[in-house]
């Protein structure tokens, strides 16, 4: 399978290892708004985003969604199941048409035995998640909603923004943003409208177009001060 050597967790593997892995890995394509796996499902595979974007979210008993993260090409998800063999802690759904590579836990365990550096890469990804959660906790405690929305937008732009003639297109809607910053969809929509009025972005159906990403980053700095 082509392109595996470009995925960060396999970057340090020898060509033979990557080739062996390519034989075990399976490519899967998902349409927009498709759930790849649900919270509590059996954890049997690790996923690597090849193209597109996904959101990682948890659903409370009353159906409310909390978006934990959005991921773009090269990023991995479903790694927790590899380590603790428990059910999925969150659901993962596509924000746009997405291609992923899946490797079963058994294959990955065998790979980790022969190339322990893969495990370090997975641990690095986990550390990033923990750092991100810590930042989010801090934001939730001390930052207001517009700041949090800007931060999520900028992170999503960096991860899975697509360059178009009109600017950088990010597949994210108000509901997903609201779930990511823990506010109501109405409030998220109001903030987006305000940013839209200031010319910092344009809200379209199911996505946001950012004409000038550095300007949006400056807006975040302004909100920060």
């Amino acid at each position: 399978m082509d392109g595996l050597d470009k995925v960060s967790i396999f970057a340090k593997l020898s060509k033979q290892h990557v080739d062996n892995l390519g034989k075990l890995a399976k490519k899967e394509k998902f349409g927009k708004d498709t759930t790849i796996f649900f919270q509590d499902d059996r954890s049997d595979s690790l996923y690597i985003v090849v193209s597109g974007a996904v959101k990682v979210f948890q659903t409370a008993d009353d159906g409310k969604e909390r978006v934990l993260n959005t991921l773009g090409p090269g990023e991995i998800f479903g790694e927790l199941g590899l380590l603790d063999a428990s059910g999925r802690s969150a659901s993962v759904g596509t924000l746009e048409a997405t291609e992923v590579v899946t490797i079963t836990n058994d294959d990955l365990r065998a790979l980790v035995k022969s190339s322990p550096e893969v495990l370090w890469k997975i641990v690095e990804a986990l550390c990033e998640r923990v750092r991100q959660l810590s930042t989010e906790t801090l934001d939730l405690s001390f930052r207001d909603v517009p700041y949090r929305i800007l931060r999520v937008l900028i992170a999503a732009t960096a991860k899975h923004g697509q360059l178009t003639d009109a600017g950088t297109l990010v597949s994210i809607d108000a509901k997903t943003l609201a779930g990511a910053v823990n506010c109501g969809a109405d409030q998220a929509m109001r903030v987006l409208k305000r940013l839209n009025d200031r010319g910092l972005l344009r809200v379209d159906e199911g996505h946001v177009i950012i004409p000038d990403v550095p300007a949006l980053t400056r807006a975040l700095e302004f909100e920060e001060s």
């Binding site: 998902f30 708004d33 498709t34 759930t35 649900f38 409370a60 009353d62």
Partner: protein
């Protein structure tokens, strides 16, 4: 004697570390056992309109297990259904995973989401949906208060809980006031542990009129265990949830109640056949007909086979709820059956069935369901992960076969030795 009981009550009140319902339970038992209550209610039999063919229920020398072949076949059909449900339960994860990955993922969107929720519902996994959650909260509110409504209803109808238990006119007013008092406590959610203890006490009191009366009332203990495990400050709390341990107790007691009731129906065939004689529409239930193997009105043993099938259907659903195998599915079937009995077959007199229906609704809409066969499932999952299909087959097959046979056949065999013609 009375002094000893009072001393016991005082000691229990003093001991703060004692269980939360020791004191009220002792109090209630003292009230009931001390001869204060002199009323007696009668268990009204539903009279047979035609005699039963009693030989069907007895011994048939030379036949397998000494049972009438049709009698045994009903038992075998129930065993087969139980075994199938057991087996499907253990492989339900593989099945739902296959369906979700093969079909639902390709569809995506709302259809995938609803399909997943439906699979979760069928397999007792949490259903995370707003309306479902709201219905669950509403079901808990109804369940906790429905005994109060039933008590009020029975008090105005000179009966104890159900119209089947009419009060003796000589002491009816004492019981009516007691019922209204308990109903007020329940409806205002005051001292729920005391309410629970009073219900347990009343249930124990029923033994004065025989074990069959008490068995008939086992399902009322379902709400009692929830009350007993609620906080004393219940009147200050908006209780809209039942925690996991309460749900487990509720499920076990509710399931056991209907399991016992089912066997009581098999045992007390005259009563059950009498019900059918007085409300013939119950004979046409498709699930019971499936267990009987026929719905032919001219079938020689129709009423007798119906009694066994009707009783075992209740044993089967009660057992499944008790051990937590497809709990929601069986609770839904039972809620449907009770609603049908209340609205179609028996009518207004059975309105107190709103209580078991509420209990079923709590189970149906709960996201706290567990199963008593979880340890076996763990073994099965380990075998699945380790890629040992034969071990998996042995675990699932043995449990399904042994479990379902043990629940039905031994008791069906033993009861056939008891002559119940004169009951």
């Amino acid at each position: 004697m009375q002094q000893d009981i009072l001393n016991g009550v005082r000691a229990a009140w003093k001991d703060r570390a004692a269980s939360r319902f020791t004191a009220p339970l002792t109090f209630v038992l003292a009230m009931l056992g001390g001869g204060v209550a002199v009323a007696h209610e009668r268990f009204v039999k539903h009279n047979l309109r035609f005699p039963l063919k009693y030989e069907f229920f007895g011994r048939w020398p030379g036949k397998p297990l000494g049972l009438h072949p049709d009698h045994l076949m009903i038992g075998i059909r129930v065993v087969a259904i139980l075994g199938a449900f057991f087996a499907i339960w253990f492989i339900r994860r593989s099945l739902t995973e296959f369906v979700e990955r093969t079909f639902l993922r390709k569809v995506g969107g709302v259809v995938q989401s609803w399909g997943h929720q439906f699979a979760c519902f069928l397999t007792d996994r949490p259903v995370r949906q707003k309306v479902y959650h709201s219905l669950g909260e509403w079901a808990v509110i109804l369940f906790l208060r429905s005994p109060g409504l039933v008590l009020m209803f029975s008090a105005t109808n000179d009966s104890l809980v159900m119209p089947s238990y009419p009060l003796d006119p000589a002491s009816a007013s004492i019981f009516k006031f007691a019922q209204v008092g308990l109903a007020i406590l329940i409806l205002t959610q005051t001292w729920l542990p005391l309410c629970g203890a009073m219900i347990v006490g009343t249930w124990l009191y029923l033994f004065r009129w025989g074990w069959m009366v008490a068995i008939d009332a086992v399902p009322v203990l379902t709400v009692a265990v929830v009350y007993c495990t609620s906080p004393w400050q219940s009147h200050k709390l908006p209780i809209t949830k039942i925690n996991a341990s309460q749900m487990r107790l509720l499920r076990i007691v509710l399931g056991f109640g209907f399991l016992a009731l089912g066997w009581l129906k098999v045992y007390n065939h005259n009563l059950v056949a009498g019900v059918a004689d007085n409300a013939p529409s119950v004979l046409n239930d498709p699930m019971v007909a499936m267990l009987m193997g026929t719905n032919d009105p001219n079938y020689l043993w129709r009423r007798e086979a119906w009694v066994i099938a009707f009783g075992l259907a209740e044993v089967m659903s009660g057992f499944m709820v008790m051990i937590g195998v497809f709990t929601r599915l069986w609770a839904t079937i039972m809620a449907f059956m009770f609603t049908k009995l209340m609205l179609v077959d028996f009518g207004w007199d059975e309105i107190p069935h709103i209580y078991p229906i509420a209990a079923m609704l709590v189970v149906i809409f709960s996201n706290q369901l567990t199963s008593e066969v979880d340890p076996i499932e763990k073994l099965d999952l380990e075998a699945w992960r380790a890629g040992k299909p034969i071990k998996r087959f042995l675990i699932v097959g043995t449990t399904a076969l042994v479990g379902s046979v043990l629940v039905i056949i031994p008791l069906l065999y033993l009861i056939s030795f008891i002559d119940r013609t004169a009951m």
